[in-house]
């Protein structure tokens, strides 16, 4: 089916060329990082994880959110999602691939990565995260391939695929739960050590992922003959609304527990996040922007007229996505390290090579989404002539 991706308009090839350029820039910077060491990033002895691991965490959520279309369609036979389920699965494939790349570029010794399998360590959550992520990638590749091939031949998919799809539903929940456990099991980091981290991760994932899916569907409607239809978009918007509201509720739970109990090592992280400590306040403008966007998005989503109107819905989805990206892709991971366990405040901000490598990985994800969506649309003969 891959040949479908090799035909396209000038705009299509222009887009592909653009992606290749940013991927090449990212690759060049990665080669530099590989040769010189991770010191070319902003990470330090105190802040040992940064932009890469934060993007990984955010994208695990986007990957898991495919379950928000898979579950209604396959488990509840919700036909309106028939057209977009494959788009959700393909988005999951691209996201998991990006997750793996972000882990890879964060490794000090990337060529030793197979040690994770050579010396399996079930006591480490990273071992389980590797297993659930590779399993989730495999599940989505198999499911999307089998269902799309059947659709291409206009035959029903084989019966054996149904149990595989059913397994993929709790599996999606597991990838984000295990990823949350990476953090929430660490006694050394009070900011992460909260039982609500996994539920919060899931809530933010189920808001950000479907919001991105709505945006992608509306883009496809503009550039191709694909039209998801009004009902699935509205249903997705409802899912985004509930998930975003629950996410904000969970964040407030955390803030209350930390601030009212007033335990210094819990309060300090929130202080750093929203006010800065001793003038060290890199994240402060970002976090207030995130909170502002969250409020705007909730208003646009909860008011029925703005949720139904495509133009305002797009704004709502963009604000949801940006708000949660700042929260998870910047604030969540970095703040766990600031202040450090000794109370020292060492700030972190990503360096240019670090950002370019990350953009390169996002380029790989965008390329995968483009190619896979093109294949899906070609099979359905919904491409522009």
């Amino acid at each position: 089916m891959l040949e479908k991706a090799l035909q396209g308009s000038k705009q299509y090839w222009g887009w592909i060329a653009f992606l290749f350029v940013i991927i090449l820039i990212g690759t060049y910077n990665y080669v530099r990082q590989f040769q010189e060491g991770l010191y070319i990033t902003g990470m330090s002895r105190d802040v040992t994880w940064g932009f890469y691991i934060a993007q990984f965490t955010f994208l695990v959520g986007v990957a898991a959110s495919a379950v928000m279309v898979v579950l209604p369609y396959y488990l509840h036979n919700y036909k309106a999602f028939a057209k977009i389920t494959i788009l959700g699965e393909f988005l999951a494939i691209a996201s998991v691939t990006m997750c793996m790349l972000f882990i890879f570029v964060d490794m000090g010794q990337p060529f030793r990565i197979l040690n994770v399998f050579l010396y399996p360590s079930p006591h480490s959550l990273m071992f389980w995260d590797t297993i659930v992520l590779s399993g989730y990638l495999l599940l989505n590749v198999v499911i999307s391939h089998v269902t799309l091939s059947a659709e291409r031949k206009s035959i029903p998919p084989p019966k054996w695929i149904r149990p595989v799809i059913i397994i993929s539903i709790p599996w999606a929940i597991s990838i984000h739960t295990v990823t949350a456990f990476l953090y929430s099991g660490l006694a050394a980091r009070p900011f992460w050590m909260t039982a609500i981290l996994a539920p919060r991760f899931l809530a933010s994932a189920f808001a950000a992922g479907p919001a991105l899916l709505i945006i992608l569907c509306l883009i496809l409607k503009r550039i191709s003959k694909f039209d998801a239809g009004d009902e699935p978009i509205e249903k997705l918007a409802t899912i985004v609304t509930y998930a975003m509201a629950i996410n904000v509720f969970f964040v407030l739970m955390e803030v209350f527990t930390a601030l009212y109990s007033n335990i210094p090592e819990h309060v300090m992280h929130f202080e750093y996040l929203f006010f800065g400590i001793n003038g060290k306040d890199f994240l402060v403008p970002w976090m207030w922007t995130s909170e502002f966007l969250a409020v705007v998005s909730l208003i646009l989503l909860i008011v029925p007229s703005t949720r139904r109107k495509k133009r305002t819905l797009v704004i709502a989805c963009i604000t949801v996505f940006l708000s949660l990206w700042i929260d998870k892709g910047l604030g969540m991971v970095i703040t766990g390290f600031v202040p450090n366990p000794l109370g020292t405040v060492t700030e972190y901000s990503p360096t240019l090579p670090e950002v370019l490598i990350s953009i390169g990985i996002y380029g790989v994800g965008a390329l995968l989404v483009t190619v896979l969506y093109k294949i899906a649309l070609s099979v359905r003969k919904q491409l522009p002539v």
């Binding site: 060491g37 991770l38 105190d46 490794m107 010794q109 040690n115 360590s121 990273m126 366990p341 000794l342």
Partner: protein, 266 residues
């Protein structure tokens, strides 16, 4: 790496010979030999009977330590012995033992009317060689582990993939990462100890390479104030046990259940 490794293996072989009684030179074989030569680099040539213990621990007398103002003998001895690089940029810093204020070392114990000498001055911190080490639990490749026979939390620099999960899990900030190639930044390379490659985590190993040839940890040996005492916690007659019996001691962040084996006499 090859040469360093060979020398390392050679040193272990010599240590084994010492064990068999074939190397009669035994200068620093006992635990009370703290006054011994402090030039750790040259003293490696003396092969003694390995020090053996079931549970190594250290007791640090803060008051004795603070009497020697601005002393960094323990840090220098350790960092010279273990080929620790010096970087200009503190974010790349590597340290196995370092000095920190009481406030940072014991955030839970601090209060505003604390004795002045505790507030201002600094005391040595190192890996706590926890009984229940959180870094070991999180390592995805078993590159760090607690040695069963004596409780030392060890590191395998050839297996570490550099994921730095152990650094996130350590509540004491005891681990460092080689953000860049350390070799050009080592003042004087000690040929008896391996240098590291970039991209791996490292930390204090309680001088297990010195214990093997009958020597005390470099920091203990170098301490001018004799504030650091090293010994076997399982041996009721050891000096560490005597100190723990006779003094009030505290450990860093005991509430986390990690059971640090570095004790501080306040």
């Amino acid at each position: 790496m090859g040469i360093d490794r060979r020398k390392f293996i050679k040193a272990s072989g010599l240590a084994a010979l010492g064990l068999a009684g074939l190397a009669p030179v035994k200068l620093f074989g006992t635990e009370d030999s703290t006054q011994a030569v402090s030039d750790s680099v040259s003293s490696r040539k003396e092969i003694g009977k390995p020090l053996e213990g079931k549970r190594w621990a250290m007791v640090i007398d803060i008051n004795k330590c603070l009497r020697e103002e601005n002393c960094t003998a323990c840090v220098t001895a350790c960092h010279t012995a273990h080929n620790i690089p010096h970087f200009d940029n503190s974010k790349d810093e590597i340290k196995w033992i370092w000095k920190e204020t009481f406030h940072n070392a014991f955030p839970e114990q601090e209060h505003e009317h604390l004795k002045d000498h505790l507030l201002e001055k600094q005391l040595p911190l190192l890996c706590n060689h926890c009984d229940n080490p959180p870094c070991v639990k999180v390592c995805p490749t078993e590159a760090t582990w607690k040695r069963e026979r004596d409780g030392i939390v060890m590191m395998d620099w050839h297996r570490c993939i550099g994921c730095r999960y152990c650094m996130a899990a350590c509540p004491y900030g005891s681990r460092s990462f080689n953000w860049r190639d350390p070799r050009p930044f080592i003042d004087r390379i000690n040929p008896d100890f391996p240098t590291r490659t970039r991209g791996v985590v490292e930390k204090c190993t309680l001088c297990e390479e010195r214990l093997r040839i009958g020597q005390l940890p470099a920091c203990v040996e170098a301490c001018k104030a004799h504030a650091m005492v090293f010994g076997d916690l399982e041996d009721p007659d050891s000096e560490v046990r005597a100190l723990l019996r006779e003094n009030f001691t505290i450990r860093r962040k005991p509430s986390l259940g990690t059971h640090p084996e570095i004790y501080y006499i306040v």
